[in-house]
């Protein structure tokens, strides 16, 4: 009898790894085209039926077609005090289905999963280092994880990234009907994806997803590829029960569980703050003083331990240690503002320059950063509390223009951070240029930047002289042999305006042709960028940021030379922006060049991409416009 059972088990195993699963020839051409790997078969089971524990099982078969596909194996699992990895193993098969390797848990490396920014994090990770001996090959990854946390449920990304395709991927969520998970899906349409919402079970299955190629100026991957997020109305976070059917409730829970007991201060600090703002009459004046106080006092240090990954360190501790992470510093600033009678809201969001929104119609734990919102009539002033240099109310492209979650006394509220407009993101260059008879130029250069252009520059004064010089040499890399001196910066933090002044010498700038010179007029802002060509573009055109560049150059040529062959003025108007250059001869020896480039942010159909390329090409061409400076002494 015993023997029979073993035999039976053996048969089950054998079917489990059936031969035809590992056959490259059975993969359709459609799936291998443009792919470095194919997700042959993936099955994920998220079991939420137990109140106390979430079970998460994965079996994934990946065919790796070449060495660029090695990064697509996803053979790592993160864990922490609440999460136990019950099983993790992997099998490798060659193209003919012969097993060549079996990795067990002990073969996986166990390392700290600190993100590189944090000084300390208690997150850990198991990962596999596999050296392929042949291509193509198959890797089967199996894992089983058990966690008491259910605030974050795994995402389903049937297409894991660019350059990979999927034959089949299924996610099954088993649940307790009294706490049914909700889901949020993106881009499921237009694919072979089925949803079945049966009693106690939610199943998504995808088939035959073709590989997506990375194309410049397209929306972020998660906005293109099919994906589903899950969340529970009642969940556990590091041993703390949480709930939220809607943002209002969810915000109340966050306030209660994470923020309510971290806002005490010592009487001495309260007194300090009161006296600090005593002479200020307006809320803004007080808030500015307090923000400056925080910037002077604290520094950013990230430590993520247990619930501390979600709950701010108490304000009292920040006061004492003078450091903290984004949560701690935001909460600290909020607590200090309260002392001065200024209400403010702890705000959760996704940081980064891809302007990712909190999904406003999907109440759940989201975001990776915290900032502070000060209501100001109908307006909101946003404070980035981790920086010691950012001006009051300035947020830059790290947190601008996106939906965020504010935790107000009335519960959670979705708001939008400040969007910097095309005209605000402004750089104005002015320069006076003198050409000598040998083709050398000397110039005085001035530049004023605001909006997001300020963001690119306001930390320049903190860099060393050499690095600042390198900054300019890289910025003007199209100039051969450049000397820059007398660099002076003015950082007007009140108005958020940054001013640069410098003197520039460029030996041999004018191109000698016989006795004459060819002179490229746009010296300080030549556009070198033409978007790459995509013969069969699939994605829409996404222009991420709008801005305005204005250049005004006064060019003085020496006696004995005359201005000839002035290029035509040029004016381009497109939906992507406009480009306007004028050449005006003021006198025999003086020319004024003006250039205005406006780029609008926006989304356009993929068919417009070629037009956008044409526009950028016309700009690079216009920026190379040359005048002939003729030697009149023959």
């Amino acid at each position: 009898m015993k023997r029979f059972i073993t035999l039976l088990l053996f048969t089950v195993c054998a079917t489990g790894i059936s031969q035809n699963e590992f056959s490259i020839t059975s993969l359709s051409k459609e799936l291998t085209t443009g792919a470095n790997s194919v997700l042959v078969d993936e099955f994920i089971e998220i079991d939420l039926t137990s109140k106390s524990k979430m079970h998460y099982k994965t079996r994934r078969v990946v065919a790796v077609l070449n060495d660029l596909g090695n990064d697509h194996l996803r053979t790592s699992i993160g864990y922490d005090a609440e999460t136990r990895v019950k099983n993790i193993e992997a099998f490798v098969y060659d193209a003919f289905g012969n097993e060549i390797e079996h990795y067990r848990k002990k073969d996986f490396k166990d390392v700290s999963a600190a993100d590189g920014i944090s000084l300390y994090s208690d997150d850990r990770m198991l990962f596999l280092h596999h050296t392929p001996t042949t291509y193509p090959y198959f890797l089967v990854f199996e894992s089983e994880v058990e966690s008491t946390d259910s605030a974050f449920l795994p995402f389903w990304y049937p297409l894991g990234g660019y350059g990979r395709s999927t034959q089949k991927s299924v996610v099954k969520v088993k649940y307790d009907p009294t706490n049914k998970p909700k889901y949020y899906s993106l881009n499921l349409e237009g694919h072979e994806i089925e949803i079945s919402d049966r009693e106690n079970e939610l199943v998504f299955s995808a088939k035959n997803l073709k590989a997506i190629r990375y194309e410049d100026h397209s929306p972020s991957f998660y906005l293109l590829a099919p994906n589903v997020s899950f969340a529970l109305d009642n969940f556990q976070l590091k041993g703390v029960p949480g709930n939220g059917k809607n943002w209002e409730q969810f915000g109340k829970w966050m306030d209660d569980a994470l923020l309510s007991d971290v806002n005490e201060l010592s009487p001495a600090t309260v007194a300090t703050i009161k006296s600090l703002v005593a002479n200020e009459t307006t809320n803004e004046g007080k808030a500015r003083k307090i923000y400056q106080y925080v910037q002077d006092k604290v520094r950013y240090i990230s430590v993520q331990i247990g619930i501390g990954g979600w709950k701010p360190m108490p304000a009292m501790d920040v006061d004492k240690l003078a450091y903290g992470d984004c949560k701690a510093l935001t909460n600290y600033t909020k607590t200090l503002l309260e002392v001065a009678g200024i209400p403010s809201y702890y705000t959760v969001l996704y940081a980064g320059d891809d302007k990712r929104n909190i999904k406003s119609d999907f109440t759940s734990m989201q975001g990776n950063h915290a900032i502070l919102a000060i209501p100001n009539g109908d307006d909101i002033t946003w404070l980035e509390c981790t920086s010691q240099d950012t001006p009051f109310g300035y947020i830059g492209d790290f947190t601008d223009d996106r939906e965020v979650l504010m935790i107000t006394p009335e519960g959670g509220k979705i708001a939008r951070t400040k969007a910097y407009s095309t005209s605000e993101n402004r750089q104005e260059n002015t320069a006076k240029i003198f050409l000598d008879t040998n083709g050398n130029i000397t110039a005085t250069f001035n530049s004023i930047s605001g909006g997001l252009k300020y963001d690119e520059k306001y930390l320049l004064p903190k860099r060393k002289q050499e690095e600042v010089e390198k900054y300019y040499k890289n910025k003007w890399s199209y100039i051969n042999g450049l000397n820059i001196g007398n660099i002076q910066f003015q950082n007007n933090r009140e108005e958020v305006v940054f001013t640069e002044n410098a003197s520039v010498q460029i030996p041999g700038y004018a191109n000698a042709v016989g006795n004459d010179f060819l002179f490229c007029v746009n010296i300080f802002n030549q556009s070198q960028y033409v978007p790459p060509r995509f013969l069969d573009r699939k994605q829409d055109l996404h222009i991420h940021q709008g801005y305005t560049d204005i250049d005004t150059l006064e060019i003085n040529i020496p006696e004995g030379f005359s201005l000839e062959g002035l290029p035509e003025n040029e004016k381009l108007e497109t939906k992507f922006g406009s480009y306007n250059i004028t050449f005006e001869k003021i006198s025999d020896h003086k020319l004024v060049y003006q250039r205005e480039l406006i780029i609008n942010k926006g989304n356009h159909l993929k068919e417009e991409y070629e037009n956008y390329r044409d526009f950028r090409r016309a700009i690079t061409k216009g920026d190379k416009a040359k005048i002939l400076i003729k030697n009149t002494i023959q």
Binding site: G34, N36, N66, D67, L68, K109, D110, V111, S112, A114, L119, Y120, H129, T131, P132, T133, T134, D296, K297, R299, I301, V303, K320, L321, A322, Y323, Q388, K462, K464, E466, E467, E469, K470, K473, N474, S477, Y478, N480, G481, G508, N511, A512, V513, G514, L518, Q528, V530, P532, R533, F534, L535, E564, G565, R617, T620, K621, K624, K626, I627, L628
Partner: protein
Amino acid sequence: MKTRLLSITILFFTLQTAVAQNFKYGKVSEAELLQKQHPTDATANAAILFREVKTNFEYTSDSGFYMVTDVFERVKIYTKEGFDWATREVDLYQGSGGKDDEISGLKGVTYSLGADGKIQEAKLKSEGIFDVETSKYLNQTKFTMPNLSEGCVIEYRYSIKSPFISNIDEFKFQERIPVNRVEVRFVSPEYFVFQTHQKGWLPYKIGKDRRDRNLSFSQTTQDIGDIGGSLPKTETRNITFKEDIYEINMDNVPAMKEEAYAGNIENYATSLKFELSYTDFPGSTMQTYSTTWEAATRTIYNTDSFGAELERSNYFEKDIDALLKGVSNPDEKIARVFEFVKSKMNWNSFNGYFTNEGVKEAYKKGTGNVADINLMFVAMLRHAGVSANPVLISTKTNGIPLFPTINGFNYVVAGVEMGSNVILLDATHKDSEMGILQPKILNWQGRIIRKDLSSDWVSLSPTSPAIRDAMVTINLAEDLSLSGETKNRFTGHYALMYRDDYKNLGELDIQKELEKDLGQTELSNVKFENLKVSNQPVSLHYNFETIDGLENVGGKLYFSPMAFLALKENPFKLEKRDYPIDYGYPIKDRYLVTINLPEGYKLESTPENAIFSLGENMGGFKYMISQVGNKLQLSVELSINDSFISAEDYGNLKKFYEMIIAKEAEKVVLIKA
């Protein structure tokens, strides 16, 4: 005379007060807190006011000798940018069998001046201390000081107990911030004989002394011979021996400056390394660790996972004999074995000159680290009757080995000696060719070690250049467009580079990558050959079109005859440089351009021919242009003959590139016929 005497006295007196600081833990002065900027380096964000590192040896009967190192530092922080100096990481190496580094007694205080002018103290507490298991071999203790403000002074101290006597971290005297005073004291029992290696450009003296040391320890013994068994006896034993004392004190060590293209500037920091050369305990034989390059090399060779692995051959004999059946030409033998190992073995991305799994197991699995693969390769060549030997190398990230140590190396390749020449081969890289090593390991020189244990330095710098040969045809059209075709041929390191970058890319990605920096120019009919076949030049063909490739200024047409192939950006931007420029290998770029002039135009002027040379024979540039009927013929050649160019020649090199860029930007002028 009198005034002179006076000034000397005053100077002496000031110096005295400046030095008269109290470097005891906890004795931070108000003057230190009040200082607004560093007296000799106004750009410093922070400074080490005092660093003290003291190492002593202790002994217990259980663990034998081990080292105890006490570290104490006082750091002044001038600006917010200096706050990073208040977060420190201490590496604690983890050995096998409980042989680990341990930290103890970590304490720290931040001192600042309060509004009332009084000194305030904030102690480092457990909330600011973190123990991290970084990997199996390394734990780290990280700490960050509390309550920082501009102008504050921090102090911390700790002790590290370490059993790793043969592998001691170097003592650093120089940092990226000024070090006002550093004191190092290293005291070791006479049984351990160390060699000291000084690094960096600041001179310092090592004070040496000897003293007697009495060491008592408890030892538990049990007399087994005693029938019935006696109780174990614990007794205190005393031994007396001599100790060597090394002392180094340095004052006012300037900050290291960041430099472009310098790589790892830590390689240049002033520091001292203690290397265990041998141990000599009374009553046991002397054990040598390393003293000279010969000895270090021998130590490596005599280790089982090196020398013994080279001796093994039974695991591959059958395969190699079959592979070489009927082959007698040694070159052919080398080529066959090289191709065989490259295709059979797969590098697991780990470096090292000791085998990991062992050659036999690696051979079976088809994967291995650098030593697994290349030692196996050497053994196979030897089996085939080729005079092959391992060559030890330090990769660029590992730094240039400055003094003899077995840790000076981290890589091994095969060297085939032919007369006085050594041909280097690396079978870990699928695309490598004979004599072409990857740039990451082209680091100055390697050490060849032969069966008879003799060893020599071998230069790693290639003598033959990487060559690019480009044949270009350009057709100019009246509509200002420029089109044509290019046939490129790449050899040596260029071929390796193209294989690495393009081998796995699809057609569309190849096109995108090639067009990346071409601006207005678009390519078509892009075709690579031999990307997947080594030992052949890589060839690249394409057609191109540049709309608006010509410029019409005042009715004349202007264009640069090198078109989009011209060098546009000088790789050398900074005015001066202190470290040498490493090209890796010599290069030779040759362009032969034929330009067909448009109908209805004639030539007004062309740039002049030019020849520039760099130094005596370091490099050269040749630009020759001539008219042949309705065509222009242009020949351009750029060569850099030395892999290394010294820092003194930096100015010339920068100028050389400026002249090339200016020359290649010069215009041909056409007028209406």
